[in-house]
């Protein structure tokens, strides 16, 4: 069915090339910096996020960078899509004040006693000790935070550990599970279903509402797993 009334709908003119500003919803704007994931594109999205936040615009409620995009959510009773686009367009186009801010280093103590260590070893042709060694010796960076509260996508995994997801996802993955899938690794902050391979358990809360930022890891942070026994 096609409706006729376009009341209240604001369309944005198509933009050539990147960054591309599009409408995400009635009260959100999506800025796309590339269609291909790279660390440098993530840096641009996060720097644009920082610049937008630093303007302190009250009507903007959330600024969310992801792999190659940035979403800006606003209060539709206080501002409009057009005003938000006009406010952020010069910011994202201006590289002068954009630079990579030093990221926080997050160290996460992990007990490598996960139920999938042996299976990952079998699938990769490594020994269980090699699996743990290769996972814990690497320094990771957080490409994005989201999906679930406190969930951060970390990369890149050692190439020898890259595996597809499990054929059958677990109905319940225990909170704190340290897991791998594809070229990524993550810690499940909360008990959820999940299809990643579980290597261990993090001995720190990944999501805590008593912290100023409830997520332990934010997009752009550097992360190391510290093996404990």
């Amino acid at each position: 069915m096609r409706a006729n009334s376009g009341d209240g709908i604001i369309s944005l003119p198509p933009t050539e090339g990147f960054p591309m500003i599009t409408r995400l919803g009635e009260t959100a704007v999506l800025i796309t910096f590339s269609h291909t994931i790279s660390w440098d594109i993530g840096v641009r999205a996060r720097e644009a996020a920082r610049c937008i936040r630093s303007r302190g615009l009250d009507s903007i409620t959330d600024v969310v960078p992801a792999y190659t995009t940035l979403a800006v959510y606003f209060d539709g009773t206080r501002t409009s899509l057009t005003s938000v686009v006009n406010a952020i367009a010069p910011i994202i186009g201006d590289h002068r004040e954009q630079h990579e801010t030093p990221s926080a280093l997050i160290e996460i103590p992990v007990r490598y006693e996960g139920p999938d260590v042996a299976e990952v070893a079998r699938l990769t042709g490594l020994t269980p000790e090699e699996v743990i060694e290769r996972h814990s010796s690497r320094t990771y960076r957080a490409y994005a935070c989201g999906f679930a509260p406190g969930f951060a996508y970390l990369g890149d995994l050692d190439a020898s550990l890259v595996l597809p997801r499990r054929a059958t996802p677990r109905v319940r993955v225990p909170p704190g599970s340290v897991a791998i899938a594809g070229a990524q690794t993550a810690v499940y902050p909360l008990q959820t279903p999940g299809g990643w391979h579980l290597l261990g358990t993090a001995e720190v809360a990944m999501f805590d509402t008593n912290r100023e930022t409830p997520s332990l890891i934010r997009a752009g942070d550097t992360v190391r797993f510290i093996r404990i026994d």
Binding site: R23, L24, G25, Y67, F147, Y153
Partner: protein, 292 residues
């Protein structure tokens, strides 16, 4: 206080939701039927953001320990206060010991039970809304159970006197009127034929639907997006399409980022009516703007 004397299968405390923490992966949460919640709080003279009970699936009962003013709205239900049938969107005077009994949800998904003064659970990350996946907000971050005691906020702090009645826009949950959408960020990945299929289809709300997302059955939609599209931020009411699969609408407790292309987004003014669709209900979509 309100005592939950017979908990329904699924009820949580919700207000208008949580903003400012999406970058930590925290969804907006809040009442799914915002339109009804705003009407009830206005009716009771509450702050628009006062917390209430969002109650789903089946009946249950509450008891009040003091005189208070309550009102119900949202889903159509069979409900009594001390044995007398009550009407929705009408202030009800409860006495100490009064029992509110819901015997059946007749149509719709979410009954809202609001009280003058609001439900006074602690504010977590700026909201009283329950987010069960993170065990935060509401009553210990969980659904209500029999025996729970809910604190009532200060009715004197409520902004105005309760109204005798309130005019809410007539909303017929049985009407079957189309839910209006606008083009989503990946609308162009769906060709005209696919759009026609999507807009002509009568979809059925799946049993696999909850506050995180509603899955819609009855149509398989193909698109040109690669399986490896980088995950990007989502929004409330976004209609995601897994390739060849059933569309999934992002609801209040849904993921903050996701990788499926979004063909369309439900208009804010239609979201509350969509949220009231129960498993098995049928829905059609209408596009509020030109296809291209």
């Amino acid at each position: 206080m309100i005592v939950v004397t017979a908990a329904p299968p699924f009820a949580t405390i919700q207000d208008l939701g949580r903003t400012g923490f999406r970058d930590s992966g925290v969804p907006v949460s809040g009442v799914a039927d915002r339109e009804s919640a705003l009407a009830l709080n206005a009716l009771l003279g509450n702050d628009p953001n006062a917390a209430m009970i969002e109650w789903a699936l089946a009946g249950g009962a509450l008891q009040f320990d003091r005189p208070c003013t309550v009102a119900i709205g949202g889903a159509d239900v069979a409900c009594t206060l001390d044995g007398r049938a009550v009407a929705p969107y009408t202030p009800l005077a409860a006495s100490a010991g009064s029992q509110l009994v819901v015997s059946q949800i007749i149509r719709g998904r979410f009954l809202l039970v609001a009280i003058r003064g609001g439900i006074d659970v602690p504010v977590v990350l700026g909201s009283r809304s329950t987010l069960m996946s993170a065990s935060i907000g509401g009553l210990d971050g969980r659904r209500l159970k029999t025996g729970d005691v809910l604190p009532i906020g200060n009715a004197h702090a409520a902004s105005t006197q309760p109204a005798h009645s309130i005019e809410i826009r007539g909303r017929d949950l049985a009407s079957g009127d189309a839910i209006h959408v606008m083009r989503g960020p990946q609308a162009d990945m769906f060709d005209e034929r696919t759009w026609t299929t999507f807009l002509n289809a009568e979809l059925v709300v799946s049993r696999a639907s909850d506050r995180t997302g509603y899955r819609l059955e009855g149509v398989e939609i193909q698109h040109s997006a690669s399986a490896a599209s980088p995950s990007e931020p989502t929004c409330l009411g976004a209609i995601q399409v897994p390739n060849g699969g059933a569309p999934i609408v992002i609801m209040n407790d849904g993921p903050t980022i996701g990788g499926y292309p979004k063909i369309a987004v439900i208009r804010a003014a239609h979201f509350s009516r969509f949220a009231q669709l129960a498993p098995g209900d049928r829905v059609r979509f209408a596009l509020d703007e030109p296809l291209n």
